[in-house]
């Protein structure tokens, strides 16, 4: 296998690894831009992953699974909304509670439903999102480099991957080019000003959290019915928290969020390839050092080059309307 196709395969893997983090990161972006801290990304993804796998396993339809995932994830976002917008509770605590709820409830429900120790049955091909071959992929694959990149890297992913990558420009457009986006950014910075202008702070924040819920639903469905084919206990394995870190590194902006998530994807894919490889001069590096590589490099690269990252000013503070 030559070097070029090796790199292509690794980048292909990077894309698959980056997608759930990217979707969760964008979900966090909407939420935090509206002034609501969203530490419950992990829990929403986990809940959605379970709903998608369970419903897809029962009905045999990946689409119904996706709907269930979005429903569950948005429902959890609404719990967060009620707690932090209406009840003016502590947003961190509400988010952490959602994470615990998802961790326990998925296994509990899954076990009483499928009797498999919390995991769901393996899904057949119809019950999950299959790779989509883009038009002319096979014909263009013969062309060196450009064709190979098109055939192997760009084509052949499942639907949610393309949706995730489309969500980046769409988010950028919504955020910086639409009236809704302007208000969303304003409500996270200075909700009083927005309220004075006669716009409902509560409604805007609810909208932001619902969008976040839908995106987390996609991320969860991707994990259990796209990239994987079943649910397993705590399968998100910290991806929601990595998404939060990516959000901070990206300074709450969509396009940098894409690069941050891709960077993490590349490093994770490289980590898999480098395990047990003999390096020139150094020899074989302990596997733990290789496994820590994505995290170490992310910190070094981003902390070194990112500069100051300032959160939306009103994030985390419940809005109290003056009388």
């Amino acid at each position: 296998m030559n070097f070029f196709s090796d790199v292509i395969l690794m980048l292909d893997s990077s894309i698959r690894l980056a997608v759930p983090i990217l979707l969760a990161c964008l979900a966090g972006l909407y939420s935090e831009r509206s002034g609501i801290v969203d530490i419950g990304l992990e829990g929403k993804m986990l809940g959605a992953a379970f709903a998608a796998a369970a419903i897809a396993a029962v009905t045999g339809s990946a689409w119904l699974g996706l709907l269930a995932a979005i429903f569950v994830s948005s429902g959890m976002a609404m719990i967060h909304a009620i707690a932090s917008i209406n009840m003016r509770g502590n947003q961190i605590i509400s988010g952490v509670a959602l994470n615990f709820l998802a961790l326990g409830a998925t296994v509990f429900v899954g076990h009483s439903w499928f009797k498999r120790g919390g995991s769901t049955p393996n899904l057949g091909t119809d019950a999950r999102f299959s790779p989509i071959e883009l038009p002319f992929a096979e014909q263009l694959g013969g062309i060196p480099i450009v064709g190979e990149i098109y055939e192997q890297l760009i084509s052949g992913h499942n639907l949610i991957v393309y949706v995730a990558f489309l969500a980046v420009p769409v988010t950028a457009w919504v955020l910086f080019r639409t009236r809704f986006g302007l208000r969303l950014r304003a409500v996270g910075e200075n909700p009083t000003a927005l309220d004075t202008a006669g716009i409902s702070v509560t409604k805007l924040r609810y909208q932001a959290l619902i969008i976040g819920g839908i995106l987390c639903g996609l991320a969860g469905a991707y994990l259990s019915t796209g990239q994987g084919a079943s649910f397993s206990d705590n399968m998100t394995a910290g991806r929601g928290f990595i998404a939060l870190a990516a959000l901070i590194f990206a300074k709450w902006r969509p396009v940098p969020a894409l690069w941050t998530c891709l960077l993490f994807g590349v490093l994770s894919a490289a980590q898999i390839r480098l395990q047990g490889v003999e390096f020139p001069l150094i020899g074989e590096v302990p596997v733990q050092a290789i496994q820590a590589l994505p995290y170490i490099l992310t910190v070094v690269l981003l902390a070194g080059f990112i500069g100051r990252s300032v959160a939306p000013k009103a994030v985390g503070q419940p809005y109290i309307k003056e009388r």
Binding site: G117, M235, Q291
Partner: protein
């Protein structure tokens, strides 16, 4: 209580006084309560480790027409509590599958010195605890040999959860078996994560499986609990072969499952229950290998078409040689290193 101590004294001498065995058994039998089984976190019906333990208890119940008690714990905090409750109610032996039980057992077994305990997959060094270990390396050796014989590319893969001696023992046995069957075979080895959370990360396991297939592997052994299914799925999706672990997972992807490295947890449970009933319960470490029927490469109707007569012949040869001691499979845990890679 007194009869119990007396019986223990009898059993201690049983080795010397052959006639004492029968008397000891008689005395134990009179003082016996129900045996108990407490499952690990995944629960009774996990289609794997715990379900096999349950099967063992059922085998005991069917063979002797005697009852047993069992319990599924909901949280880690219940471990000690559950052990105490059973011990207090007079259950013996109390069998617990899984190394996560080591700490609770070592605490509770000291509080109830007259109750027998058995733990599977870990060692608790107390006079009333039997520790059952498996020679995972021997079973892995067999599936490694099958993998090497099946491989057409000359490359096979091994996916496990994280760098941990028990898991390394699987990998080390697998490589030894593969090299024994084909000295030129290349084995790709990957870890999913860095801790116990890796047992659930089926997505990373799947990505690793894909990566190994892309690097040329056409048989992948996944020894990673629930996460392993991710790698097996990746192998099935790519049209290559997977090898399951712990229980017989051949049914998962028929046609793409070469075999499974089975740990007979059921035998360990059955033995503990039966030994207590017969008055032969012994504490200390018990190691179940190939010769004791503790580990094996699963053969059933799902993988029968994949195993050629030639492969079966080589396998039988290896089994005979391991049983006779001609082949000694190195155990990674004995010196924390592996002679081959």
């Amino acid at each position: 209580m007194n009869t119990k101590i007396l019986s223990k004294a009898f059993r201690a001498r049983a080795g010397i006084l052959a006639g004492g065995v029968a008397l000891g058994a008689l005395l134990v039998g009179s003082a016996l309560a129900e045996p108990a089984l407490i499952y690990d976190a995944a629960g009774k019906n996990d289609k794997s480790f715990n379900e096999m333990a349950w099967n063992g208890a059922e085998m005991y119940a069917a063979a002797n027409n005697l009852p047993y008690s069992d319990l599924e714990i909901q949280t880690d905090a219940q471990r000690e509590q559950a052990l105490r409750r059973f011990a207090r109610s007079g259950a013996s032996p109390i069998v617990v599958p899984g190394f996560t039980w080591a700490e609770p057992v070592s605490v509770v077994a000291q509080e109830f010195p007259d109750t027998n305990f058995a733990i599977i997959d870990a060692v608790v060094d107390l006079p009333n605890v039997r520790s059952v270990l498996f020679k995972e390396q021997e079973g892995s050796y067999l599936v490694g040999a099958l993998a090497a014989l099946k491989s057409e590319t000359g490359t096979i893969g091994f996916v496990t959860a994280f760098d941990f001696p028990l898991l390394q023992a699987f990998g080390c046995g697998y490589v030894q078996g593969a090299k024994a069957a084909n000295a030129d075979i290349e084995v790709l080895q990957n870890f999913i994560g860095t801790g116990f959370e890796a047992f659930g990360d089926i997505n990373t396991a799947g990505e690793i499986g894909r990566s190994q297939v892309e690097r040329g592997a056409d048989v992948i052994f996944a020894a990673a609990g629930g996460a392993g299914e991710g790698a097996l799925q990746a192998a099935a999706d790519a049209g290559v072969y997977g090898i399951g672990v712990d229980s017989n997972q051949n049914y998962l992807f028929p046609g793409n499952m070469l075999t499974s490295m089975v740990k007979r947890v059921d035998i360990a449970v059955l033995n503990a229950f039966q030994d207590e009933l017969d008055g032969n319960f012994t504490a200390g470490v018990q190691v179940l290998g190939l010769a004791e029927g503790g580990v094996s490469a699963a053969m059933d109707e799902y993988n029968a078409p994949l195993i050629t007569a030639e492969m079966q012949a080589v396998l039988d040869d290896f089994i005979a040689k391991i049983n006779s001691g001609e082949i000694v499979v190195h155990d990674y845990r004995s010196d924390n290193s592996c002679p081959v890679s």
